[in-house]
Amino acid sequence: MTQRRDVLAFLAALASACATAACSTAPADGRVTIEAPFATEASFGPVANFLDHRCGSLDCHGNPARNLVVWGCEGLRLEPYDAPICGRAQGGKPTTSDEHQATYRSLVGLEPTVMSAVVADHGRDPDLLTFVRKARGEEAHKGGALVTPGDDQDVCITSWLAGATDTVACASAISEPTFPAVPTGP
């Protein structure tokens, strides 16, 4: 009989705890702080331009339906009156800093806590991030393996995660993908 009373008391306490938890709300000023990689134009601009070129075509990550969305003049534009055309002569406009920032938010927002851990560790283990593993082809990726650890494309990304963007590597990475032959016309 005593045992039954104990069980009932426990159940009542449990129900009370659940009810309290269900009714409680997060404090309005509640924040989760993460350590984010640098977002400045100097740090992320070259990375964003590389991502736009390599990953941001309209049929890949230049698509708002993707988890990672990349904005830029080679793909999806942020403003409704802009078109995916870079050259002013063709009626286009180069990628804007707002588009860089939109790409930044999309990228950093994918796995914020993992990103925080990678940045806090000065980018020593970028492979913790899904987008790095996908780019390297270490995880299922429709676009396949696009970068090789240590190549300019990879260094462009990992140097940014480490806090010191290698702008030379990013500039070089823009030339990828390299096609074996240059079309000479039919």
């Binding site: 049929d59 890949c60 403003e79 409704p80 063709q90 676009g143 074996p180 032959a181």
Partner: protein
Amino acid sequence: MRALERRLQPAVGAMVAMVAMTSCVDTTHDDQVQALGGEAPGVARGPDHRPNQPCLVCHGGEGPASAQFSVAGTVYAVFKAPGPAVGAQVQIEDISGTTIVAPTNQVGNFYIAARDWQPVYPTQMQVSLGAATEQMLTHVGREGSCAACHQSTIGPGSPGPVYAATDMSQLLGDGGTGP
């Protein structure tokens, strides 16, 4: 017990059939097909139909078209002009270095049969017509339908239709002295 089994058999059979049917229906694909609408009046199904629609929605292997393409699209002669590029050469090179050339027909359509070639993405493309050659400025990552990105109108997610020349003078190669 056997009587109960017999009574349940039709219900179980119907349930199995329903599950099998729903698991085979791709509503997303069906919606995409429906969104293309019907055939244009006076145009029969075939190589001339549905210019500047995303060909592989129907011709990509999921039906309803039986002919399957790996790459297909429509080319217009001049930027922002409605005339098709008739007899243009569409050159596609994939990342493995294989290059293929497909001609456009009388409505500007071109297509490459899936059995003839499957590109290794990414690809790069160029179009030649008359004196003009236009190289696509970005590469293609995965999409076989030109019109999936090159939609009829220019906007934040579309550079507009594919064209062979920015203006008539480029097409004629006369530096602007043509008709």
